[in-house]
């Protein structure tokens, strides 16, 4: 399969680009909700519009009412979300939670998917328990209790946790904290007794929670996939999420780069456009080169994931790490080349820097994924 978009995908990209630039732009969404100190950190109206565009259920199977599309398509939407810094539940709900629900019972699908597809529901995922992404260690426990389970523990960095109608929680049903096996995934409804959220606004204005589970009673049918066999579902969800986060990061990098290159063509100092200075030209050209490479490997990871290739694991980590490094370069060069105004809240380039920081941390940063590349390669 060639590493560029086919005709249908190119059409989708045109549509997504126009729609998100129009409705999801920084003024209409990120700044709008941030300046109103919105408790959700995103707009439900846009989420509903994204449903009307067919985006919310694009990864959901057609048999379940979705569009049955792949990660190349989801990545197209995510790149535009990244470029516009659009706060939205798309990555957590339509990619991560939707991937987990593919492994769920018909009952679970029937309970949650229609709301997702309609843009009425928002889902979150609760994986991390410490300040760094470390899914190999899961200490939150779910004990057998009657016909169901009793969930105890805490999770952090739960994006939009307090807004979510359902949270996918990775918990331990057997074994010790570091065991690969013994994990079970649960779909925890928002009104579950004993679940409490401490909301916190993040640097990029997104809302996240530290979520506690104090003997939360769950029905047996809240289980996603097999009891004790949740690691496979968790891995599938992480894989999809990482490839998705890479695509969004490509959008952040491209958005920051485009804004910066435009600025080099407008700002004058010493009687000429600063883009005439070779010192800046070379840095911009290097950035272009890195962004092109990051984008290529992200599309490669999407295609491998859609093809079900075993090498998708490795390429997803390559993509996540490469994009994290590249977007970091893009936003740092962006602020520096904007000079003093790059430090002001009025200009958008600083918002790219903030978003990159949070997005890179989500589901593992460049260090985490470079280490994973080494491990998967056998060293």
């Amino acid at each position: 399969m060639p590493l560029y978009h086919n005709e249908d995908q190119a059409m989708l990209a045109d549509t997504a680009r126009g729609f998100i630039a129009e409705e999801g732009n920084i003024a209409k969404q990120l700044r709008h909700w941030r300046d109103r100190n919105c408790k959700d950190g995103f707009g439900h109206g846009l989420w509903k519009q994204m449903a009307e565009m067919g985006f919310t259920g694009m990864l959901v199977e057609e048999a379940d009412g979705g569009l049955g599309m792949g990660h190349v398509e989801a990545g197209i939407v995510l790149e535009e979300i990244g470029r516009n810094l659009t706060p939205s539940p798309f990555l957590t709900s339509s990619v991560l939670a939707a991937t987990a629900l593919k492994h769920g019972s018909d009952d679970l699908k029937g309970r949650y998917l229609p709301g997702l597809i309609a843009g009425d529901s928002v889902f979150a995922v609760a994986i991390d328990e410490t300040a760094k992404h470390r899914p190999s260690r899961i200490a939150t426990r779910a004990e057998k209790s009657g016909n169901g389970f009793r969930l105890t523990g805490s999770k952090s960095f739960v994006i939009q946790g307090a807004s979510a109608d359902m949270i996918v929680v990775a918990a331990r049903t057997s074994g010790s904290d570091e065991d690969a096996d013994g994990i079970t995934l649960f779909a925890v409804p928002k009104d579950a007794a004993g679940m409490s959220h401490a909301s916190v606004r993040l640097v990029d204005s997104a809302m996240a929670t530290h979520t506690r589970f104090d003997s939360v009673e769950l029905d047996g049918d809240a289980v996603i996939g097999e009891i004790d066999g949740g690691r496979a579902v968790l891995d599938a969800m992480l894989l999809a999420g990482r490839v998705g986060a890479a695509a969004e990061g490509v959008g952040v990098a491209r958005g920051a780069m485009d804004m910066t290159v435009d600025y080099l063509k407008q700002r004058k100092q010493f009687g000429k456009l600063i883009g005439e200075f070779q010192a800046l030209q070379h840095r911009a050209s290097h950035l272009y080169s890195e962004v092109e490479i990051a984008r290529a490997v992200t599309v490669k990871a999407q295609q491998l994931l859609d093809a079900g290739a075993p090498s998708a694991e490795l390429m997803a980590s390559v993509a996540k790490a490469k994009v994290a490094k590249t977007a970091r370069l893009a936003v740092q060069e962006g602020v520096q080349m904007h000079g003093g105004i790059g430090m002001t809240d009025e200009y958008d380039i600083g918002l790219y820097m903030k978003r990159d920081r949070a997005l890179a941390e989500f589901l593992g940063d460049a260090y985490f994924h470079a280490n994973r590349v080494a491990e998967l390669s056998g060293y």
């Binding site: 060639p2 560029y4 063509k265 911009a284 890195e290 990051a294 490997v297 080494a374 056998g378 060293y379």
Partner: protein, 397 residues
């Protein structure tokens, strides 16, 4: 697609029957590469047999038209042949600047007479060519070149000096940029072809920091170059005074080649191999070195995907025309980093300049060789200039 599978089966059978086992061994040193030319000798019978079989089949230049010594393969068929040769580790039967550089220029700009004569000679490995571009005062700023051909009616009298002429001391003929109009910088250069045995041509090898001498200084003292070698065989490619167009076309081609975009696996991750290498030397990877290898592998594997995307896009005309500059820049910088890491893993063993264990200092010599990657064929800085101007459209670039 069925036709392509038939072609693959036929190719596999042909290679099985015609590629001698010795030609399926990895290339160990320079003597394993057959460059062709008037003075070439075969290392062994297998090398000779392999060349002759490929010449007969048109497989020294498989994608060239049959009339010019090729096999007329489509891009898809040529890819199958590369894959099948790669499968059995078949060596290239013939390597030459004629195949890589002059051939593409002649296919694009040459007259029918030039194609008939020169392309067939190149395809059969009869003539070894070298490239006369750079001069002592004209490196990155190539268009400032001074080697001058004075118009003598039916001939030019060429005077000047070239540098970095690859294997000029082994070459039979040269394709050479010569100024023929001093008044016009860009439209005053002619792309000439002439015999290195001409009176007044001398070459002097340059000893490099790697200890090798692949490049020469080439001097022209009153060299007489006839304007024609016969009916429809002019001694210049394209038009007189418009050789810069040909040179630019070829530079683009060369950058693509150096960028490694047309195949090869030197862009794959190296961490696992480096761990084994360290183990053979009785060591383990230092944690910080392991981390650097991991970061390198991220970049290398990502670049491999970029190479794949670039080739896919070139096939359908989607790639930006200046994208080879970006590939060359990123690919050569990556290769330099690769060899820095290989040297670090090898420790004092990789410092050995002459030893059996290092096959004559291969790690250090290869490491030093890579430093030229980002200089030859356009420096990294020139590549960044081109990206700034042609892709980013920055002012004054």
């Amino acid at each position: 697609m069925a036709d392509l599978e038939t072609f693959r089966a036929e190719t596999r059978a042909w290679l099985e029957a015609n590629c001698p086992p010795e030609m399926r061994e990895p290339v160990r040193d320079e003597s394993d590469i057959y460059w062709g030319g008037r003075r070439a000798t075969f290392k062994n019978d297998a090398q000779k047999a392999w060349l002759e079989a490929c010449v007969a089949k048109g497989y020294t230049v498989p994608a060239w038209p049959k009339a010019y010594g090729g096999a007329g393969l489509s891009p898809a068929e040529a890819k199958v042949l590369r894959e099948e040769m790669g499968r059995i580790n078949a060596r290239p039967p013939l390597s030459s600047f004629g195949i890589w550089m002059l051939g593409p220029a002649l296919l694009h700009f040459g007259t029918e007479g030039q194609k008939q004569r020169f392309l067939n000679e190149i395809a059969r490995g009869e003539i070894r060519w070298c490239q006369g571009y750079s001069e002592p005062g004209s490196g990155s700023d190539l268009v400032s070149l001074q080697t001058y051909g004075e118009d003598k009616g039916d001939s030019w009298e060429v005077n000047g000096q070239k540098i970095w002429t690859s294997y000029a001391d082994h070459a039979d003929w040269i394709f050479c940029l010569v100024r023929t109009d001093k008044a016009d910088k860009y439209q005053g250069i002619t792309f000439m072809l002439f015999d290195m045995a001409s009176e007044g041509v001398t070459t002097k090898p340059i000893l490099l920091i790697s200890g090798n001498s692949p490049f020469c200084e080439t001097f022209f003292d009153n060299v007489s170059v006839p304007k024609s070698y016969g009916d429809d065989v002019p001694a210049y490619v394209g038009t007189i005074n418009r050789g810069w167009d040909v040179a630019k076309y070829l530079l683009g081609h060369e950058r693509e080649m150096i960028s490694g975009a047309d195949g090869g696996d030197r862009t794959a991750g190296i961490g696992a191999a480096m761990k084994r290498h360290a183990a053979r030397l009785g060591d383990d990877l230092d944690p910080v070195l392991r981390a650097e290898l991991a970061m390198f592998d991220v970049d290398a594997l990502a670049y491999t995907a970029m190479g794949e995307k670039f080739l896919d896009e070139i096939k359908v005309g989607k790639a930006h025309p200046a994208q080879p500059n970006m590939m060359k820049y990123a690919g050569t910088e990556l290769n330099k980093r690769r060899h820095e890491l290989v040297m670090a893993v090898g420790g004092s063993r990789s410092l050995e300049w002459e030893s059996e264990a290092t096959e004559g200092g291969k790690p250090s010599r290869n490491w030093l060789r890579t430093k030229a990657n980002s200089i030859e064929g356009g420096t990294s800085e020139v590549m960044l200039n081109v990206i700034a101007k042609r892709i980013l459209d920055l002012p004054g670039a």
